[in-house]
Symmetry: C2
Subunit: 361 residues, 2 copies
DNA sequence: AGCAAGTGATTATACGTATAACCAAAACGT
DNA sequence: ACGTTTTGGTTATACGTATAATCACTTGCT
């Protein structure tokens, strides 16, 4: 034993079960620094005999040592936490992205923290301030409005916190966007319908729910034009919100008898699974059989799509994968001190064919 | 100005945008401690002139000061974070509880952190160790298996971390349980059906999905006995999992023609909304009209219940409220250094009557 | 023998905040 | 005029970890 170990002993007011590195050091007869080097697992820095290393690790296990992330974070200036901000935390889409992000985060020793955005007009300033207070290593953002995005930018840029927007379509040159390939998905769905012989195809979306819905409608029109299929104006239903009592009348008005049958759409694409479900329901109430008389394609592939009647053919959004990619990007930034380029990752979507689509009559 | 301010000046390697209390102190010409007292907002401890208080607050705002929670946590030994562990983070139920918990947490300056539990056999030990490393102030637990619960207990008791189980039915005397009043909900649903003239009532659940399903089945039988209604064995469907391909055959076998009509159930209670949806679908495929020929009641009130065909009458579980209560309890513990009594909070459920139930024929 | 290089540690200090303990000056009471 | 209280702060230190700088001792080389 070289050198003297001068630890203040018997600190007295120890909090419950809190074993520190110094406790281990005292027990083994080395300095706290040595314990830190060993437990950090990094082989750079200081050399430690293998036997000593083992003894330290063993003692740590014996005492039930749990490293103190608060102290670690403060000392290193990094927090190993990613913030997740969204207004729709209670929805399946958000939850699944969070799970994906969580997956890669935890693999790298990070965690995900949900940030508050509640009610009709959430206190964005407070929420984003908390992000800064936590010194999060990155921010996952979902479904924010433009003014909120601007606030977020202001708050994060001073701290050089990288942001990854997931499924949010504002054109940004200062942050990463991880989005799903909506165009590709719609194309797959459209080709599926066309292959089934459909050509009078409508679209149902709720424009004020999210910019996504609006964007998908535009993509639909674009693709229809590309395939040379005419789209009468009345085939495109854009309700305000995704609510049955709003969507049903619209669908009803379009499908209710009163015009020659050959002017009706034989299939619908939709901007979401729930929209698809209402559409099917309304059609059935009018005497249509789904899919024999009317094919319907959803967008999302929520769990309930499997349980719908009939099981819903739908464009599957890779929610988990979006979360994974976003988290991966943020971790890259954190390690490379990358300022956060204005890039964009597009995750492929795919079509899940179930029973809500059938050959056109 | 009394006393000398001896701050080391020009620290040089300042990290991006990191304004500290010392920076403010230097600017205003007071000590860091004074700034701390002012910014903490507590009026106890040290007295500060009102003018000085204003100057400090103003300077903090001017410099864009954001308090460093990492340092705060380390100094005070508290983390202001609640951990949320569950295997079903991607589901709506979990997400909504999380939102509720988040709501009361953020009101009190706390945040919620999602803990990793992925895949078929998650690494519970690692996940719970991380809870300890983070020194979370409390743990929200959902849908854990008994062995995981035991591990969690071991990990948390040394650190005196309180736990709140949400919707988990193991009988525990060492932790809080916040559960929904399933019995009350089932009673409401049953009374609703009885009032509609039903008395041949069946039950559909997936026993291996969660202990909840099993428990609900027991409650159902109990209540039926209480109301003096006989329940033939074949009326109680207990499939393994909540999957259409498993549930459909079971429902089909019961409802398919082949026996005298008056031996069939005229209504079903279920252990979950999705089960209810499959049940309705299978019945319809057999020629039943829902609700005219068969009434079905769900359990949960997920978003999709409104979009089901027909809109689902269902026992609404107050997911958000469960989360709120659980979080509130944990915060109480954190402040009262309450060791976490083995109490239990039961949140009322209520019945949402939509269109999947109708008078018995 | 003498010096460089390598080994295996140690010391010292920073990180930013909270808080107990202390202190100087002013106001006040008798 | 002198002790006491009040006002308005200051100093000092703890919290647990990371890490740069340093040091004692051993080994190898010429």
């Amino acid at each position: 034993m070289r050198g003297t170990i001068n630890e203040k002993i018997g600190s007295g007011g120890e909090r419950a079960g809190m074993v520190t590195m110094s406790d281990i050091a005292r027990r083994v007869g080395v300095s706290q620094a040595t314990v830190s080097y060993v437990l950090s697992g990094r082989q750079s820095g200081v050399r430690v005999r293998d036997e000593m290393r083992q003894r330290i690790l063993q003692t740590a296990a014996d005492l039930g040592y749990r490293r103190n992330d608060m102290a670690r974070a403060m000392s290193s200036g990094k927090s190993y936490v990613l913030g997740f901000v969204t207004r729709i935390a209670g929805q399946e889409s958000s939850a699944r992205m969070m799970v994906g992000a969580q997956e890669v985060a935890s693999e790298n020793g990070y965690s995900i923290q949900l940030m508050p955005l509640h009610g009709k007009s959430p206190d964005y300033a407070a929420a984003f301030a908390r992000l800064a207070e936590q010194r999060v290593a990155g921010v996952l953002a979902l479904n924010l409005k433009v003014d909120a995005i601007e606030l977020l930018r202001q708050e994060t840029e001073r701290f050089e916190i990288p942001i990854a927007f997931m499924d949010d379509p504002p054109p940004l040159d200062w942050a990463m966007r991880v989005i799903s390939d909506d165009r590709g998905g719609l194309r797959l769905a459209l080709e599926h319908l066309i292959a089934l012989g459909h050509h009078r195809i409508g679209f149902v979306s709720a424009q004020r729910e999210s910019p996504l819905a609006e964007q998908r409608r535009a993509l639909f029109l674009d693709l229809m034009a590309e395939y040379g299929l005419p789209v009468p104006n009345e085939f495109v239903l854009a309700t305000d919100w995704v609510k049955p009592e709003i969507v049903e009348p619209a669908v009803h008005a379009l499908l209710a008898p009163g015009r020659p049958r050959e002017t009706y759409p034989t299939a619908f694409l939709t901007a979401g699974d729930l929209m698809a479900m209402v559409t099917m329901r309304t059609a059935r109430a009018l005497g249509y059989r789904v899919p024999q008389d009317l094919s319907v394609v959803g967008f999302a592939d929520f769990i309930s799509a499997t349980f719908a009647d009939p099981p819903l053919t739908t464009i599957a959004q890779p929610f988990e994968e979006i979360g994974r990619c976003a988290a991966r990007y943020l971790l890259d930034c954190a390690h490379a001190t990358n300022p956060g380029s204005g890039a964009e990752i597009v995750i492929p979507t795919y079509l899940v064919v179930r029973a809500s689509t059938a050959p056109a009559v």
